[in-house]
Amino acid sequence: MALNRDFVGRSYPASPPYEVSRVKIREFAAAIGDNNPVYRDREAAQAAGHPDVVAPPTFPIVFSLQSGGEALADPGLGLNFAMVVHGEQRFEYVRPVYAGDRLVVTATITDIRSAGRNELLTVRSEVTTVDGEPVCTTYNTIVERGGAA
């Protein structure tokens, strides 16, 4: 089913704060098989010049997916989750994400378009600290296979 184009430009209220923990960063690093000590050990991270344990570059998917998820779950959009695969992803950083950060995400649907038989939808998420300091922007494009057929 074609996605509802009226959703382009819709922003969703800022998420509740996501508190980045050392434990979660360690778990994520283990899941991607990366043994870099700056993902696990505060002293190693500080020795490398960071204030605390650093998150891997793709870590914001952990919390940006959830905020975008609210937009995608709206039945009025007409998205069939069973046919969804990931199309594109980008992370644009102002600074790295660190353990101890309290982050809020504001998601906006920036684009819906057809490509062949598929429907493509892009969500931009602005990630800031609870104090309003910009940290990163994520761009997530999902593909609904066969959605435009």
Binding site: E27, I32, D34, G49, H50, P57, V85, Q89, Y93
Partner: protein
């Protein structure tokens, strides 16, 4: 927070040697738990086939994380990656056996920017398929 690679020592065309990353079903289960992406196509063969896929496929983000690791290992500092984007151009099919699949990542410095930043173009392959396209990272060098 400083990269170990020096901007002045890197020229456009500099090649970063390929690295193989193995992915088995266990990795996908771990990644599902750590990322919160429990889409069944990444762990349930029956479901994956029902929706027309050849088998369980890796999370695109798992592949993106491997290519990200390739960049951070080269740069020497995860904080040096200031921009990183990919397109998922093909699936990484992960069979239910002890070998799993292999993702081979390589890179080349495509451009030198101001402020000691470089653009690294990334190639990721699994089997015959190029699994990432338009994959590039902007890295802050020393």
């Amino acid at each position: 927070m400083t990269a170990t690679v020096k901007y002045d020592e890197i020229e456009v065309g500099h090649e970063i040697p390929a690295v193989d990353y193995n992915v088995r079903r266990l990795n996908l289960v771990m990644y599902a738990g750590a990322s919160g992406d429990f889409n069944q196509i990444h762990w349930n063969e029956r479901f994956a086939k029902m929706v027309g896929l050849p088998d369980v496929i890796a999370h695109g983000m798992y592949t993106m994380a491997q290519a990200g690791r390739f960049v951070t290992d080269w740069a020497g500092d995860p904080g040096a990656v200031v921009d990183y984007g990919v397109r998922f151009s093909s699936m990484v099919v992960v069979p239910d056996d002890d070998q799993g699949a292999t993702i081979t990542v390589s890179g080349v410095v495509e451009e030198k920017l101001a402020d000691k930043r470089v653009v690294v173009g990334l190639t990721a392959r699994s089997g015959d398929a190029r699994v990432l396209s338009k994959a590039r990272a902007v890295v802050q060098l020393a």
